[in-house]
Amino acid sequence: MTLMAEPSATGRFGEFGGRFVPETLVPACQELEAAFRDAWADPVFRQEYRDILRDYAGRPSILTECHNLGRRLGIRLVMKREDLNHTGSHKINNVLGQALLAKRMGKTRLVAETGAGQHGVASATAAALMGLECKVYMGAVDVARQELNVFRMRLMGSEVEAVQSGSRTLKDAVNEAMRDWVATVGNTHYCLGSVMGPHPYPWMVREFHRVIGDEAREQMSTSFGGDPDVVVACVGGGSNAMGIFSGFVDTGARLVGVEPAGGAAVGRGVPGVVHGMRSYLMQDEYGQVQEAHSISAGLDYPGVGPEHSYLASIGRAEYPAVTDAEVIDAFQLLSRTEGIIPALEPAHALAWIVREAPTMQGATVLMNLSGRGDKDVAQMMEILR
């Protein structure tokens, strides 16, 4: 089987994926799958999507070689600059695709979950641009630690609801967004923010982020003499990682998805079913989903997208974890050596690179810099005080 192609008819990547949703949502998922399939095969839609990525989001994003830090680490370190996209992260790629699709399906309202707020901000942005109503669910813990993003969403006309249930983070925001969708499915599209959830989301969201990998493959070949030895990205649900992996899965490059130690679904989980998908999941001995604990709101999630579980199960990608302390160091290191303040999420990818550099001397390492650190500056000010 070709890797990172279409999943099976039941939305499976190997044994992972599927569509475990309440009966009410089955027709909506089927309708979405048909609409996406149709749109993705339609040259007019593809052109519209390419145009909006270029003229609104600012694509293609550039590659930056980090000479100072690379020299220090003994590697050639190249960053894919998704932080330079409009709204400050890779999330906009997926959201613009889904918002165009929602309009094509005649939906007038978006619901979205958000952790760090980047997907929420991107959703609010697309909703403002395209005249859609938008409601974003965000865990109460994250509302507190990502205050600026909450304000940005509201500024653009979206409603933000602080979710008080469960761990009050990303997992519970997904639950609440699904509850909303169950009640509003007639006029509402659920704009899911990562390569997770029921079929077709993991596939569709990966396709909307494929542009990251496709661009990077070409840019590496034009400006850096060919494919990298290692491709590294952080993994929450896993969308930025899927995006960049998709460009290199058929090369010899080592693919590394970095999880937070407190939310290591692949590293510490076993297969389970939640949020519509079968995938690795942190759970207790009775199958209760465990709470993740990470400094980064965007990675504070006990599950992972099903295609990552599949890539892990066949050994094509590896999923190590880094600690909050390593992340705090990496965040400062990139700021100081390169004048780039990363979001805490991609700082995980860098933390792994720093730790493993001694074993990769001379290698070319491509990292997906999935977002910028503006949203995290207030939180880091507290931590570093």
């Binding site: 039941t10 599927g18 569509r19 475990f20 949703v21 309440p22 009966e23 009410t24 949502l25 089955v26 027709p27 909506a28 249930s165 469960g166 997992k171 519970d172 639950n175 699904m178 509850r179 169950v182 009640a183 509003t184 499915v185 007639g186 297969p271 389970g272 079913v273 939640v274 949020h275 519509g276 079968r278 999941l281 759970q283 009775y286 199958g287 209760q288 989903v289 465990q290």
Partner: protein
């Protein structure tokens, strides 16, 4: 159409044939006082009980049942402890469980079906396991004589409903509205519409659940359906006032659906 009816379905069919409307209260297992509440509901005229097995991420549940689940989990409830307590209940009516699929998936299909059977449970409702994904569980459940209740939703196109009914054992759970569990001020029009669509194509008992919030709404629903499941309105009484209040409420609903039309 399907295999011989299981214990719950046979009981429902017999009662229906005798002109009785079916009343199935939902009670969150492991919530302090749940066994007393369950016995009170049976004494007040429940035809079966749906025991909720609390899950960390109950996506089909609104605030009341979410809170009950969380309280039960905080009190240390597990699927094993609840099934253990269910075994001691010794009530006459059939007992079903309502749970989320990961509870089954994690334990293993066959193992879990056997655990239910040995606890005296006869049926299971798994609201996040739609028809297309239900095969492996249904097979294991069938083998252990556990009746798997299928849910039918207002969004289902006509061609889907016969397939849902064909796989349903025990009863067909006709979802009363677009939304999650919780009390509403009026019965949604979708409740009787969907129940009518189901009644037209199946002789498996059809019960309306989700959003049937009081005695009057239950009475309205059974004008079309064979019975009702009542969740949030029961659980709220258990949370706020205890087992006796549950018994009184079930008696009130019983009287309303029994009254001559």
């Amino acid at each position: 159409m399907s295999a011989a009816p299981g214990r719950m379905e046979q009981s429902f069919r017999d009662r229906r044939a005798a002109g009785r409307k079916l009343l199935v209260p939902y009670i969150t297992g492991g919530l302090p006082g749940w066994q007393d509440a369950l016995r009170a509901a049976v004494a007040a005229g429940a035809d079966a009980i749906e025991i909720g097995i609390p899950f960390s991420d109950p996506v089909m549940d609104g605030p009341v049942i979410q809170e009950a689940s969380q309280r039960a989990l905080d009190a240390g409830a597990t699927p094993v402890s609840i099934l253990h307590e269910a075994r001691e209940l010794d009530v006459e009516v059939p007992l079903a469980v309502m749970l989320y699929y990961n509870t089954v998936h994690h334990a293993g299909h066959h193992r879990f079906a056997e655990q239910l059977a040995s606890a005296g449970i006869v049926a299971a409702i798994v609201p996040d396991l739609p028809l297309e994904e239900a095969g492996p569980w249904c097979e294991a459940a069938d083998a252990s004589s556990i009746e798997t209740v299928m849910l039918a939703a207002p969004t289902a196109p006509d061609e889907r409903l016969p397939r849902v009914c064909a796989r349903a054992r025990g009863f067909v759970y006709s979802v009363g509205l677009l939304g999650v569990t919780g009390e509403r001020s009026a019965l949604a029009s979708t409740a009787t519409t969907l129940a009518g669509r189901l009644k037209a194509i199946t002789d498996v008992p059809v019960l309306v659940g989700v959003g049937v919030s009081n005695a009057a709404q239950a009475r309205e629903a059974v004008q079309v359906a064979d019975g009702v499941v009542q969740g949030a309105s029961v659980v709220r009484r258990l949370l706020e006032a205890g087992a006796d209040a549950v018994g009184e409420y079930v008696a009130e609903v019983r009287a309303a659906i029994d009254a001559d039309i």
